[in-house]
C-alpha cells in the first residue's frame, strides 16, 4: 500500500508553479483571464474581466499592484490532471522585491512579449531575475492579432537579446483567446514540477499577504518542504513570532479550504495574524515545534526610498486621515508612516514609499477609498549628512535640515538607471539624463534600431517626473528600470518657498545647489499659475538661507462680476456662491493667502520636459 510520502511525491509530479512576467501593458492580466476561463474555473458569461486585478485603481491603470495567486485545474492532452499554480506579480519597477519573491516561489515563467512593441526594459529586468532563480523560461509572443504585430522581429529579439531559442517560443492573442491551450500544454510539458521533501520540517516562503475583514491576514505561501495544516503552531522566522494555524487552502476564484498544504503546493494560510505589517514578504514559515534549520534565502525588509508628508486639507479631518492610514496599511506592509507636523499645513504624517508610483497609488487610494482631501509635501529621497562633530545622520525631511554651519559633508543616493528605446531617441534621452545629473553612461545596441542606455544618476533626479518625461520624448516607446547603488557626495542646500513673507514649510525642498535657482524659479511660476488672485497682493519668493533667489507677484483681485438678481432669483446666486465657497474650503490658508491643493502638486512638476 502506498505511504503518505509516496502519495505526495506522485501528487507533486502534477503540480506546475509558474508566473507570467511582462512589461506593463503587454497583456499579462488578459492572458491570466483566458487561462482561468479555459481551465473551466470561470464561466465565460459571468466572468469579470481581469479577475486577478481586483482593485479599481489597478484595473483603471492596467497595472497589477498586489501579488495574488490562483490554482488552475487543467486536464492536459496526456489525459492527466494537473494543478497549475499561477502566481501573479506586480509589474512595476517600484515593487521588484515582491516580484523576486513571487518568482522564487515558481519553477518556471512565461515571458510575455508584445508582438508590436517587442522586448522592453522591464522584460529584460524580469528575465534576468527569473534566470537568477534558475527558472525555466517559456517565451510567449502576445497580441499577434494586432495589425502592427511583427512576430519575426520579436523572434529575432528573443534570440539575440535574450539568448533563447526562438523556435521554442509560443504565440498567442490573449484578447482573442488563440494559442492559450498550447501555452497550458507547454507549461505542463516544459516547466518542471516542484522539488521538495514533505518528510522534512515545514519550510514555506511568504510571497504575499492581504487583509480580509472577516478572517484577518491571509498569507500566500509556496510550500517547499514539509506540510502545514490547521491546528499547527507556525513560526515566522524573521522575528520568531508564532501563530496557531486556523485554516489552509488553495486559491481558486475564492478560497478553497483544504486539510493540508504539502511540499510543492501554493496556497494560503490563516493563522490569527492581526495585520499585514506582522507579515513580511520573503519570510519563511516553519513549524514551531519542529522548525527547519535555515530560513529560505533572499529575505529583505522592504525599504522605502521616497518620503513625503501627508496633510489633511481641513485640519478637522486629521482624525479621519489617521484612521484611513491605519486601514490602508492593513493591505500594504511596505508603506510606513509616523506623525509629523508643519507650520503651514498643521498636523500630518511623514510617510515612506517604495517609489513614486507607490506614492501615487497611496494618495489616490486615500482620496478615493476614504474620501479624503489631502495635500502632500514635496517628495524627497533620504540624504546622508555628516556633521562637523563626526556624526552621520539620514535626513529626508527638509524640516530636519541641519544648521549649515554644522555640516561637514552631504551625500545623496544614486541609482543605475537602465533605459531601452528606439535608437532615434538616443540624443533626447541622453540629454534628459544629463539634465538630471546623470554620469558614466554606457550604450549598447541589443538589436538593430534599439538602444539600451545606462546612467548613474541621483535618485532625486528621477523622482521628479522622470518616467513621464522619458515616455514623452520617446513617444511611449521608452522603458526604465533602476537599482540603488549607494551614496555619493553632493552639494545640498535647503530651498524654502515663502508666500507673503511666510515660509510654506510643506514646499521646502532639499536640493542640489546647482539646480536650486532653477527649481525656485519654477516653483514660483507654478504657484503663480495655481494660486487664484485674492483681495491682497501676493508675493511669492524662493530663498536659500536668508537669501531670496527668485520672486514673483500675484496682483490683487478688484472686481467681481456682480450680476443683476433678475426678478428676485436669489436661489441661483446662492448656489453659485456656495459652490465657490466650497471650492475655497478645499484650499489651505497660509497666513491670509488661500492655496489650493493643485498648487502644492504643481510645484512638483519639472520644467525640464
Amino acid at each position: 500500500m502506498e505511504g503518505f510520502f509516496d502519495i505526495i511525491k506522485r501528487y507533486m509530479e502534477n503540480i506546475r508553479n509558474f508566473s507570467i512576467i511582462a512589461h506593463i501593458d503587454h497583456g499579462k492580466s488578459t492572458l491570466a483571464d483566458r487561462m482561468i476561463q479555459l481551465t473551466g474555473l470561470a464561466d465565460i458569461r459571468t466572468f469579470k474581466d481581469q479577475i486577478l486585478d481586483t482593485m479599481d485603481i489597478e484595473r483603471e491603470r492596467g497595472i497589477t499592484i498586489k501579488s495574488q495567486a490562483i490554482t488552475l485545474p487543467y486536464r492536459a492532452q496526456d489525459g492527466k490532471s494537473y494543478l497549475l499554480n499561477l502566481i501573479d506579480t506586480p509589474g512595476h519597477v517600484d515593487f521588484s522585491y515582491e516580484v523576486s519573491r513571487s518568482l522564487a516561489s515558481c519553477e518556471g515563467v512565461l515571458l510575455l512579449i508584445d508582438a508590436a512593441q517587442g522586448i522592453q526594459a522591464q522584460t529584460l529586468a524580469n528575465l534576468y531575475m527569473a534566470m537568477e532563480h534558475d527558472l525555466e523560461v517559456l517565451p510567449v509572443i502576445n497580441k499577434i492579432d494586432l495589425p502592427s504585430a511583427d512576430i519575426d522581429m520579436v523572434m529575432e529579439q528573443i534570440e539575440t537579446e535574450l539568448g533563447l531559442d526562438p523556435f521554442a517560443c509560443l504565440t498567442c492573442s490573449a484578447k482573442a483567446g488563440t494559442g492559450v491551450e498550447a501555452i497550458l500544454e507547454a507549461i505542463v510539458e516544459k516547466i518542471p514540477p516542484p522539488k521538495g521533501d514533505v518528510s522534512k520540517p515545514l519550510s514555506a516562503l511568504i510571497f504575499d499577504a492581504f487583509y480580509d475583514a472577516f478572517r484577518g491576514t491571509i498569507v500566500s505561501c509556496r510550500i517547499f518542504d514539509g506540510e502545514i495544516s490547521a491546528g499547527q503552531t507556525i513560526r515566522l522566522m524573521s522575528n520568531h513570532t508564532t501563530y496557531r494555524v486556523e485554516e489552509v487552502g488553495r486559491f481558486s476564484l475564492g478560497r478553497d479550504k483544504k486539510e493540508r498544504l504539502t511540499a510543492g503546493d501554493v496556497g494560503y494560510v490563516i493563522a490569527g495574524i492581526k495585520t499585514v505589517s506582522d507579515v513580511r514578504v520573503g519570510d519563511t514559515v516553519t513549524n514551531d515545534r519542529n522548525p527547519c534549520v535555515k530560513p529560505l534565502p533572499g529575505f529583505k525588509e522592504a525599504k522605502p526610498v521616497v518620503f513625503a508628508s501627508i496633510y489633511p486639507i481641513a485640519s478637522d479631518d486629521y482624525e479621519e486621515l489617521a484612521v484611513a492610514l491605519e486601514k490602508y496599511t492593513l493591505n500594504d506592509a511596505s508603506f510606513v508612516y509616523q506623525k509629523d507636523s508643519s507650520v503651514a499645513l498643521g498636523q500630518g504624517f511623514r510617510c515612506g514609499f517604495l517609489g513614486l508610483l507607490h506614492l501615487d497609488i497611496v494618495q489616490e487610494r486615500l482620496e478615493r477609498e476614504y474620501d479624503l482631501s489631502i495635500i502632500l509635501s514635496v517628495p524627497s529621497v533620504r540624504y546622508r549628512f555628516t556633521l562637523k562633530s563626526g556624526e552621520t545622520t539620514f535626513i529626508d525631511n527638509p524640516a530636519h535640515f541641519p544648521e549649515p554651519a554644522q555640516i561637514a559633508q552631504t551625500e545623496e543616493p544614486y541609482i543605475r538607471a537602465s533605459m531601452m528605446f528606439p535608437e532615434r531617441y538616443l540624443g533626447a534621452v541622453m540629454k534628459l539624463c544629463i539634465d538630471r545629473r546623470g554620469e558614466n553612461s554606457t550604450i549598447t545596441y541589443p538589436s538593430p534600431g534599439r538602444a539600451e542606455l545606462t546612467f548613474e544618476m541621483p535618485l532625486a533626479g528621477v523622482i521628479f517626473d522622470f518616467y513621464d518625461s522619458l515616455k514623452s520624448i520617446t513617444q511611449g516607446y521608452g522603458s526604465f528600470d533602476y537599482a540603488m547603488i549607494g551614496y555619493r557626495e553632493s552639494d545640498l542646500v535647503l530651498l524654502d518657498i515663502l508666500v507673503n513673507g511666510e515660509k510654506v514649510d510643506a514646499l521646502s525642498q532639499i536640493v542640489y545647489r546647482g539646480i536650486a535657482r532653477g527649481r525656485a524659479l519654477q516653483a514660483c511660476e507654478r504657484l503663480k499659475e495655481e494660486i487664484p488672485r485674492q483681495m491682497f497682493k501676493i508675493a511669492i519668493q524662493g530663498a536659500i538661507g536668508g537669501e531670496i533667489i527668485s520672486r514673483t507677484t500675484i496682483s490683487p483681485f478688484r472686481k467681481d462680476v456682480t450680476a443683476k438678481c433678475y426678478g428676485g432669483d436669489i436661489t441661483r446666486k446662492r448656489k453659485l456662491l456656495e459652490k465657490q465657497k466650497k471650492g475655497k474650503k478645499r484650499m489651505k490658508m497660509v497666513g491670509a493667502v488661500s492655496i489650493p491643493q493643485s498648487a502644492f502638486v504643481a510645484v512638483l512638476k519639472s520644467d525640464q520636459d
Binding site: 483681495m535 426678478g567 465657497k581
Partner: protein, 392 residues
Amino acid sequence: MSTSTSVPDLATLYGKGKKESPGLYVHIPFCRTKCPYCNFYSITDTSTVQNYIDALKGEMALYVDSTLTYDTIYVGGGTPSILTAEQLFEIFDTIMAVFSIAEGSEITIEANPGDIDGDFASFLVHSPVNRINVGVQSFSDDILAYLGRRHSAKKAISALDRLIDEGCANIGLDLIYGIPGQGIDLWKNTLAQALLFSPAHLSCYELTVEPETPLGMHLAQGDTPLPEEDEMYDFFMTTTDILKCAGYVHYEVSNFASTERFVSRHNRKYWSHTPYLGLGSAAHSFFGNMRWWNHRSVKRYIADAMNGRPPIESNETLDSDALIFEALFLGLRTAEGVDLYELNARFQVDLLKKNRSKINALYKNGFIEIERGRIRPTDRGLAIADYISTFL
C-alpha cells in the same frame, strides 16, 4: 414634474420671517425683439398675451390672503411696455381687487424707450404706477446696435423728455457698462447724458455674459473681448465717483438713488430677506424660509394657472445655514451692509467672533467699515461683494 402641487401657505410662512410688508412682482415675458445678451426668459410671439393675462388672474386667485398687505408692486419683464394700455389696466385692476395694497405703495413698471409714446404715457398718468424704470442701456447708437436694442439714442432722449413732460417724478434709468468697444470715456459721456435728466434712480450694471446667450457664443469665438478685470474696476469706481459727486446715494452694488426717498423699495426687499410674491412665468417668491419659482415656459405657466393649479416649478426650504449665508451675501451688496448682532439674535451664530481675524483683515485693507456689529462695505468692498461673502 413639480412635486409642489399645493399652494404655499403665505400667512404661515410669513409668520416665520421678517414681519415687514411683502412686495408683489409680476412678470411680463414678452419682448418685441430679443437682445443677444439677455439670459432672461421671454418670447416674441404676442398672440398668447391675453391668455397669459387670464392665467395671471388665475394665479392671483390662489394667493388671496386678507392678513397680508403689500407695499410694493413691480411689473417687470421681458418688456411690460409692449402690452396695450387696456391690457395693463386689466392687470392692475385685478391686482388691486385681489390683494390688499397699502396706501403710498411704490408701484413700478419697466419700459423700453421705444414704447414710450402718447398712449403709454397716458396709461402711466391714469394708472396706479408711480415709478418707471426705463431700459436706456446707453446713449450711443453704436453701443445700442451692439447690444441689439431696438431703439435709438434719439428715441431714448425723446422718451425721457416725454415722461418728464407728463409729470413723472420718479424715473429710473438702466445703463450698462463694460461692453466691448465702449471705453471709459464713452461711459463717462453716457453718465453725463443720463444726469441731464436728473433721474430719481440709476441702475448701472456691468455687462454679464452668460455663455449660452447669443452674445456669449459670439464672444466665445474670440471677437473683441470683454474688458479685463482692471478695466471693469475702473468702470465701477468711475461710476460711483461721478454719481456720488452728483449727490446720488450708492445704496447697492449697481444701484444709485438721487435721495434716500428714491431707493427702490421693492428691490430692497430682495436684499433684506423681506418677503415677496412673484406672479407670472419664471417669477420667484420668498416667504419666511421658503423660496419657490414658477415655470419658465410661458406655455406651461398658462396651462397650469388657467386651470387653477399653482404654476410652481420647484421650491426649496432654507435651513439656517442657507439663510445666514443669504443674509450675508445679500447684505454685503448694499451700503447698509449686514448687522451681525442681528444675525446672531436671529440664528444664534456669532459671525463676528467666528471670523474675527478675517473681518479685521477686511477692515485693515479698506473693504469694510465696522460699527457696533454692523459691517458695511466701502466702494472697494462693493466691487468684490461676492468675493467677500465667500471669504467669510
